[in-house]
Structure formats: C-alpha cells, structure tokens
C-alpha cells in the first residue's frame, strides 16, 4: 500500500507529467504514422531515454506502448489501414461506419472501449504482478530455466507465420546472445578478437534494425499505396443506448485481452482477434459485424488495449516479455540496470507502482487526445512516406549510435535491418529473434546455475514439480497445435460431408 502511494506521489512531479503528456501525443502519432507501430516506436525511442532516470524513462516507453496501440484505431477507422496490426479487426467495422458518415461515432466507441480496456488491465496488473512475483519468489534456477523455455516456446505462435520458422528465429536470437564473454567461465565466444563485442551484441541497435530499418525496406515496396481520408463530421460520442448495447462486450474483451496479454509473447494482435470473434459470437446481431457494428469496434479495441497492461504482468514480475513491445521495454529495463522479477516488488516497489500509475494516466489521456485530436492525427497519416522514412532512418541511426557512442552499433543496426528484411521476406518473424536475444543470456545463466545446483545431472530438473509443470506447458505450446491440426484434419472430411 505504501509502495502504491509512493508510486502515485512520483507522478506528482510536473516534469514527469509533462513527459507523459508529450509521450502520449508521440505515441498516438507513432500509431497513426504509416509503417510505424508500438514496437518500432518504443525501439526507436529507447536510446533517447538512456540518459534519464529509470521512472521517466520507462514511463515514456510504456506510454508510447499504450498510446500507439490505441492510435492504430484512428487510421483503421478513417483510412481503412490499421496503424498497428492490433487494430486490423477494427477496420472491419470502423471503416464501413466512417463511409456512412459516422466516423466520429466509431472513433468515440474506439476511444471509450480502449480507455476502459486499458484501465481494467492496469488494475489487473497492479493486483496480479505482485502476486505473480510473490509466487515466483521461491523459484530456484531450474524453475526459472523451465519458465524461460516456456516463454520462448510461446514464440511459436507469434504472427501468422510458420511455428517452426518462429522457433528457428527465436533460437537464432538465443545463439546471437552467446556472443561475448561467457558470464560463467569468463571466456570469449564469437568475438573474433573485437573488444567491442566482448560485452555481447547490444540489444538496442538490433531492435532498431529489425523493427525500424527492416520496415524501411518493406516500405520501399509500398510507394504506390494511396491513402484517402474519410470526411469526418464533428465528434459524436456513443449514445446511452449504444453503451447499453456494448458494455458487456467491452468488459468481456477487457478480460480476454488482459488474459492473452499475460501469456508470454502473445500480444495485442491476438487479443484483438479473439476479442472481436467473441464479440461476434455473443452478439444478438452478429449479421451486423463487418458492416459497421459498434460491438465489433468495442470487442477489438477493448481487447487490444487491455493486452498492454496484461503484457506488462510477466514482463515486470518474471522478466518474461508478454508481447513484442514488452520485450523492447524489457530491454529498456535492463539497459537502465533494473532487474525485472520478484525482487522488483520488494526492492523497487515504488518504481513498479509509478509505472502502473503512469499507465493508468495514459489510458485517460489518450481518451481526450485521441478523441479530440483524431482529425489532426488522421491527417498525419497522409504525410508522404518518401519524407517520413528518411527522417525515421536518421533518428534510427543516431539512436543506435547514441547509446554506446560507437560506430559498430551503427553497423549492427543496418546489418540487423537488412537481415531482418530478408528474414521477413522468407517468412521468419523478427520478433522471436529479438526476444531470443533478450532472453538468451538469462536462459544460459539459469541453465548453468541449474547444472551447478543439480551436480550436472540435468535430468533432475524433471523431478521438480514446478519445473516439470513449465516443461509440460512448453510441450503443449509446441506440440499442441500439431495435435489439434492432426485432429482437425481427421475431422474435416466428416464435417464437410456432414454439412
């Protein structure tokens, strides 16, 4: 309780409040700009926060995360292009409403649902993260190792690509994390005698490369895409009758989004899809979905915004990122010398609660900024990418350089960008690679500690109930879809003939 109050008091700092308001504006801008999303925005902004104190630095990153996730809805509704992938389902009903001249109503519903979803998830975060941390307080290295393996196994389901390619990409990230001096033996690995690599491949330039520069190359193929804005009448908030119709959907999707967010690696995109589907399944008027249903917008937006708070639960409590953007925030925590995990809620509880309260504040702020600035932010989407992306590149490179003030980091950022582009081209998501790079060091350290603890008899890990539980979850995450797939394949002919 004391920590919650001190965290709240930290927000009384006028400079911090100003930074949060500015970051909310920046986040909404990032979410609205073509090709930029929450993950890219946070990765690009990370170097700017290095010289700051931890609370403002991480508050800015989480603010960008929340605001950009919401802002995806603005472009989804007004130009039928989701600013972030998490708003893809918002297009389905938002754009038809906008075409009917009800863009204001659609934006109003998106803002209300996002705010409620975001607040519900932050309340859950405040309650669940310390509990989860307390549960994890007695974890020994084998349990942590098993938990990290489980977190990495969840990468299989990221995006819509092949699970095998996702795991491969994650394993590649873990391999890259082994570059540098081995922490257990102090022996150099894969450094080629370069001093710059002895501390390993730095996270920040890699993040900037794979999320920012690779996107620049993707945009090189999107030059012909035309963006036309729908004319928006005055903002009109949803009526009481509209609220009556959607309040259940908002609450349901908020719960779904928070739960999906808590699962390691699963983020707002999956949450919005499930939230939208469930909204349709429970709706009394499912036939309206896809034609401009307010329930559809509420289902999607409440879910994707509540996933942001959910994703921060395992990130802060266990050090396992709950979403791709949370992975970049985790990198930010590490860069600032903070150790996410159970001790965060005993040794740095004030910091944790300051972050929670700042996220709460953002959810209220973007309601006003997003709603009343929507018209302006929608115009931002019309900035030509020929001007936008060269400027983004300048920021990316200077950001990559600024952290260690080393030209090697510039080389790493550009190299990672080109590699990331080719990975994406051949169906390998870059998100697992980034998460693998962040978690790789922890994975190896925990394995090494477990081997010492278990006298090099690694199989004894399976005799520890909690570690075994996580290994079973890992097996389910990896092979569950395969088993379901086989079952589905066997059943589908029956279904098709039966129907």
């Amino acid at each position: 309780m004391d920590a919650a109050l001190s965290g709240l008091m930290a927000l009384a700092d006028i400079n911090l409040l100003f930074l949060i308001v500015a970051a909310t504006l920046g986040g909404v801008l990032v979410g609205a700009l073509p090709g930029l999303n929450a993950t890219t925005g946070v990765a690009l902004l990370l170097p700017f926060t290095i010289t700051m104190e931890p609370i403002p630095a991480i508050a800015i990153l989480t603010t960008i995360y929340c605001a950009a996730t919401f802002a995806g809805a603005i472009t989804a509704i007004l130009i039928n292009t989701p600013g972030t992938s998490a708003s893809a389902t918002t297009c389905l009903d938002g754009y038809p409403l906008a075409q009917r001249g009800e863009a204001g109503k659609a934006l109003g519903m998106a803002a209300v649902s996002s705010t409620i979803g975001g607040i519900v998830s932050v309340v859950c975060l405040m309650a669940a993260a310390p509990l989860m941390a307390r549960a994890a307080y007695n974890f020994a290295p084998p349990e942590y190792f098993a938990l990290t393996v489980f977190g990495l196994s969840m990468l299989a389901t990221i995006g819509d690509g092949s699970p095998i390619k996702n795991i491969l990409s994650g394993a590649f990230g873990v391999l890259v994390a082994t570059v540098g001096v081995d922490l257990l033996t102090s022996i150099e690995r894969f450094t080629f005698g370069m001093n710059e690599l002895s501390e390993g491949i730095p996270f920040v330039p890699v993040m900037i490369g794979v999320f920012g520069i690779s996107e620049l190359l993707i945009q090189a193929d999107n030059l012909h895409v035309e963006r036309k804005q729908v004319i928006m009448k005055a903002i009109k908030l949803p009526s009481r009758a509209d609220y009556k119709k959607v309040w259940r959907t908002i609450l349901r999707s908020s719960g779904i989004g928070t739960f999906i967010g808590i699962l390691p690696a699963e983020g707002a995109t999956v949450a919005s899809m499930i939230g939208y589907n469930e909204a349709k399944r429970w709706s009394k008027t499912p036939e309206e979905f896809g034609k401009g249903s307010l329930e559809g917008i509420a289902g999607s937006e409440a879910a994707n915004n509540s996933a942001t708070g959910g994703a921060m639960v395992p990130t802060l409590a266990l050090g396992i990122p709950g979403s791709p953007t949370a992975a970049v925030i985790l990198a930010g925590l590490m860069v600032h010398g903070l150790r996410p995990g159970p001790t965060m809620f005993t040794e740095q509880a004030d910091f944790a609660f300051a972050i929670f309260w700042s996220m709460m504040l953002v959810n209220v702020l973007f309601f006003f900024i997003g709603l009343f600035g929507a018209k302006l932010f929608a115009r931002v989407t019309l900035i030509p990418i020929q001007i936008l992306w060269p400027i983004v590149f300048i920021f990316s490179i200077v950001g990559a350089y600024a952290l260690e003030q080393s030209m090697i980091d510039v080389l790493i950022a550009v190299g990672s960008g080109i590699l990331g582009f080719f990975m994406r081209r051949y169906g390998f998501s870059v998100v697992p690679m980034a998460i693998g790079l962040i978690l790789g060091g922890m994975l190896e350290t925990r394995l090494g500690q477990s081997m010492v603890m278990l006298d090099e008899q690694w199989w004894l890990m399976f005799t520890r109930p909690l570690a075994l539980f996580f290994f079973v979850l890992t097996a389910l995450a990896l092979f569950g879809p395969l088993v379901w797939g086989l079952m589905f394949k066997q059943r589908s002919p029956v279904e098709s003939t039966g129907e």
Binding site: F48, T51, A76, I79, N80, T81, P82, C91, G161, S162, I164, K165, L168, A171, V174, L175, T178, D182, L184, T185, I187, E188, R189, F190, I213, L216, L217, A220, D221, L223, V225, P384, I385, Q386, I387, W389, P390, I391, F393, I394, F395, I397, V398, Y401, A402, Q405, M407, V410, V414, I418, F421, R425, Y426, G427, E444, L447, G448, Q449, S450, V452
Partner: protein, 172 residues
C-alpha cells in the same frame, strides 16, 4: 489490410510455374535452410575453438556447451524445414528494394568519412529514389533534419559524434 483480397475462382488447372518463380520457390524451400545449416556448421566449428576451463574450475558447463546445444536445435529445425516447409515463395525482389539496400550500403561507406554526411546523402537520395522531387522536401530531409538531429543530440543528450568532414566544423 486496407487492400482488397481477390479470390480466384475455380480454375482446376494450376498454371505451370515459370522458371523464375520455380527458382524462387527452390530458394525458399531448400537454399534458405541449407544456408542456415552451413552457417551453423561454421558457428559450430568456431565453438570448438573456444578455450576450455579446467574441470576443477568448471561451473556446470563448458563455454561451448550452450551455443552447441542451440546450434544443434537450429540445424534440426532447418532440416525439418527442407522436408516440410509449405510456405509460399516470396515475390521477386523489386528494383526499388535492391536500390534501397544499395543506398544503405553506400551510407555505411560514407559514414566512415562522416556520419552526418552519410545520413544527409542517404536521406536525400532515398527521398529522390522513392519519387519525391520537390526542392523543399529534399532540403528538409537532406539538410534540415540531419542538422536538427545533430544539434538536438549534441546539445540536449550530450552525445559526441565521431569526428569527420562535417562534424569537425562544429567540434574544432
């Protein structure tokens, strides 16, 4: 997402794959996993060159154990991909992308002379390459943006940039 998806209607006869798409499919199916395996073989060989710690100082694992474990997993998954990958081959690399990659490499070379010279030239070339010809836009991305970013980082964040042709004008 914003675009329309056109479903091709019932054409039972698949058009024969032309040479180019067949080559791309083969690259995607065989060359990429094979390339990964070759890379892993090289990384494995490198890992065998690591120093080893004497048994008395060993803390659970030798330095090469973990990388070799991960390399083994990557090789296994790559082999699986060769036999089971059914993902589509990507579209051919467009000229625009190829030239953008060329500009990136050019940037790295010029950045050795001066980081901000490289940034300015890259930004203005990219803007022009992508079809923007208006003078104000070229000046904005090629001169104003790099100069503004330089002074912002130098003044506010106290970042010292590497000495070069242009940065020396400020630092000296």
């Amino acid at each position: 997402m914003g675009g329309h998806t056109h479903l091709q209607e019932g054409n039972p006869v698949q058009p024969a794959m032309d040479k180019s798409s067949k080559r791309r499919a083969n690259i995607s199916r065989y060359a990429v996993p094979a390339g990964i395996i070759v890379f892993c073989a090289w990384a494995y060989w490198l890992s065998t060159q690591f120093e080893r710690v004497p048994p008395i100082l060993k803390r659970g694992m030798q330095p090469e154990d973990f990388p070799q474990l991960v390399i083994g997993l990557i090789i296994m998954l790559s082999v699986y991909l060769i036999f089971r990958d059914d993902s589509k081959a990507p579209e051919p690399l467009t000229k625009m992308v190829q030239m953008t990659i060329g500009l990136l490499i050019g940037f790295l070379l010029i950045a050795e002379i001066d980081l901000f010279l490289g940034l300015g030239l890259f930004a203005v070339s990219l803007t022009a390459l992508w079809g923007e010809r208006r003078a104000w836009a070229l000046i904005l991305v090629g001169i104003i943006a790099p100069v503004a970013v330089f002074f912002m980082f130098d003044g506010i964040f106290e970042v010292r940039f590497p000495r070069g042709l242009l940065t020396n004008l400020w630092y000296e």
